[in-house]
């Protein structure tokens, strides 16, 4: 390792030699950095799950523009929209198709007494162009009380839905109705429900008798090929001329929802703070390690300074140590985090996955905070005369 580093650095790897000369301290330093990395990974995992779970909910749909109530911060929240707005929007140049979207919540009380809450999506099955790739064939929903149920829903027993087909539906009771599970979707749990149920708009009205077909939650629109959804949305805004509605491109609606979930909802904020605290903890740990190491070697550094080594040389030693600590701390943290993610995903049915981007982000962040704390630790050496340090 020493020879390899010597080749890489073009000089004696003093930082590495200093670190390994006290193996116990090095091991505890690596453990400290790993701990901070794991903390950040877990918080980022939860933050990522917020974003991913939100994105997944939209993957059930396929639209170019979404009209929502002005207080609808997410797919499941907000007031209803008058269906006549759909007809007004259809009259705008560039809009070719429209579809009301109904969202509700169905609780399924299972035989063992446990409950599963389904975010229920009600949509017209005769317009399959509005169905997202995550749903597939919805012809079977044309029959009343037929539903597609989320096989990855939190609390769902494994293989319970494996035999539910159109020919052999699985009958259950939910919301006071007998419903037939004729197929499955695979979306998984979110923060607003344990899973998803997809039904026709007609079945939706049976499940929610208090809802009115003239007041969907959102209106989905398709634009003509070649039209820019944002420009068409702008035209619709002008046409509707009201502040009680939000007219956004579908992709903008998704991004706004994610932003709302991660930056304005209390749970999102808590995980955001968790990331910040993990970073601060990591910074403090590495600063302590590096500043102690610099203090322990101050006399030796002063000797090097007296020999003609520049401040850049000392910074490179601390940077070398920072990178070594960051990398050696990061690798076990990544392995632990992968295990933790698996456990968390299984326990919560949330889409908690390690993306290469997140791993690189944490590695770069770890190296950055290690380097910054190293530079702080070197301040005394930069200003002092060598003779004052002996």
């Amino acid at each position: 390792m020493t020879r390899l580093l010597m080749r890489l650095l073009g000089r004696m790897p003093i930082g590495w030699l200093q670190l390994v000369s006290n193996k116990l301290r090095f091991a505890s330093a690596v453990a400290g950095v790993s701990f901070a990395c794991i903390l950040v990974f877990v918080q980022l995992g939860m933050m990522g799950a917020f974003s991913e779970a939100t994105r997944v909910s939209y993957s059930a749909l396929n639209a170019d523009i979404m009209i929502s109530s002005s207080d609808a911060n997410s797919l499941t929240e907000g007031s209803h929209v008058a269906r006549r707005r759909m007809y007004q929007a259809l009259a705008v140049a560039g809009v070719v198709e429209a579809q009301p979207l109904f969202i509700g919540r169905v609780t399924w009380l299972q035989e063992d007494g446990s409950k599963i809450e389904f975010t229920t999506i009600g949509i017209d099955p005769s317009r399959p162009s509005f169905i997202g790739p995550a749903i597939g064939d919805i012809n079977s929903l044309k029959l009343a009380n037929n539903v597609l149920l989320d096989s990855r829903a939190r609390g769902m027993k494994p293989d319970m839905l494996s035999e539910a087909t159109r020919e052999h539906p699985l009958w259950i009771e939910a919301h006071g109705q007998q419903i037939a599970i004729v197929g499955t979707v695979s979306l998984g749990g979110g923060f607003s429900g344990d899973g998803y149920m997809v039904v026709s708009d007609q079945t939706f009205m049976r499940l929610f008798p208090s809802r009115f077909s003239g007041a969907p939650n959102h209106i989905l629109l398709k634009v003509a090929p070649g039209e820019n959804p944002r420009l068409v949305a702008e035209r619709i805004r002008k046409e509707l001329s009201t502040t009680s509605l939000k007219v956004r491109s579908f992709s903008d609606a998704i991004e706004e929802d994610i932003k709302y979930q991660t930056t304005r909802r209390p749970t999102g904020l808590i995980f955001g703070f968790g990331v910040a605290i993990g970073t601060i903890v990591g910074f403090v740990i590495v600063y302590q390690i590096l500043s102690t190491d610099v203090a322990d070697h101050l006399r030796e550094y002063a000797t090097f300074k007296a020999m003609g080594y520049s401040q850049r040389f000392f910074q490179s030693i601390v940077m070398e140590q920072a990178v070594i600590l960051a990398v050696t701390g990061f690798i076990p943290a990544l392995v632990f985090a992968l295990g933790i993610y698996q456990v968390m995903a299984k326990a919560t049915s949330l889409p908690i996955e390690m993306s290469p981007g997140r791993a690189i982000l944490v590695l770069v962040g770890t190296i950055g905070s290690c380097a910054l704390s190293g530079i702080f630790a070197m301040r005394k050496l930069a200003t002092a005369d060598p003779a004052d340090l002996f």
Binding site: M12, R299, T303, M307, G308, D385
Partner: protein, 231 residues
């Protein structure tokens, strides 16, 4: 005071130095004037607290010159930038009383540091040169020993090797023989003296060791921050 030659590597004029600030400020050097000739072994003697080490560290760019003038190898140290001081230090060799070896580096690696300061070169060439000088100082069998595995005298010899391996123009030595036995001490000083004769290396040495005096070309005695004799 001796006459100065145009090539004198060290020229000190009107040098004063203080430690501390405010009411605790104490003057340690008073109006020092000094010329040190090239290739000579100059010894600074005097009781503890007389200012020997302070003068040595001021001449060796280890401390800021506050008043007066110190010309080192043609460069004025007073007001010199950090970059100038750093480059000048590479032309010097220091032997410290406490040897100040790096505890995580072997004897060979410590000596190599005296070469690496001049820039990246062939690593094996550095190792060969470092091993050669350590062998000359009787440490050929201890190349890969860490400082904690070496005796005080061996550590001091490693420090001497580190100071000399880069062929410095001036060697500043603070009690270099304090940790050495008589024979090793004399051998070290003779080596410095020979370097002066062969390469023109100037040596300025602080010592209490009377054995060395007969080898010195010049002896300066300091008392209470003043040069009281120049032989």
């Amino acid at each position: 005071m001796k006459e100065s030659a145009p090539t004198d590597p060290i020229v000190v004029k009107g040098l004063n130095h203080w430690f501390g600030t405010g009411q605790t400020r104490i003057q340690s050097l008073f109006d020092i004037h000094l010329h040190i000739a090239r290739g000579k072994l100059t010894v600074l003697m005097g009781p503890s607290g007389s200012g020997k080490t302070t003068l040595l560290t001021l001449m060796g760019c280890l401390r800021n010159v506050e008043t007066g003038s110190v010309q080192l190898l043609g460069h004025q140290l007073r007001g010199a930038s950090n970059d100038t001081l750093t480059v000048l230090r590479r032309r010097l060799g220091f032997i410290f009383q406490a040897h100040n070896l790096h505890s995580s580096l072997t004897a060979l690696q410590n000596v190599r540091m005296g070469l690496e300061v001049h820039g990246a070169r062939d690593h094996s060439e550095y190792d060969r040169a470092s091993a050669h000088i350590l062998s000359q100082l009787g440490l050929g069998e201890r190349l890969n020993y860490l400082p904690q595995k070496l005796s005080g005298g061996q550590k001091q010899r490693v420090a001497v090797a580190r100071a000399l391996v880069g062929n410095p123009e001036i060697v500043f030595a603070d009690e270099p023989t304090a940790a050495l036995d008589r024979e090793s001490g004399l051998k070290t000083v003779l080596m410095l003296k020979r370097l002066g004769e062969l390469r023109g290396t100037t040596t300025v040495m602080v010592t209490h060791d009377n054995k060395i005096l007969e080898l010195a070309d010049r002896i300066l005695r300091l008392e209470d921050g003043r040069i009281v004799s120049d032989e």
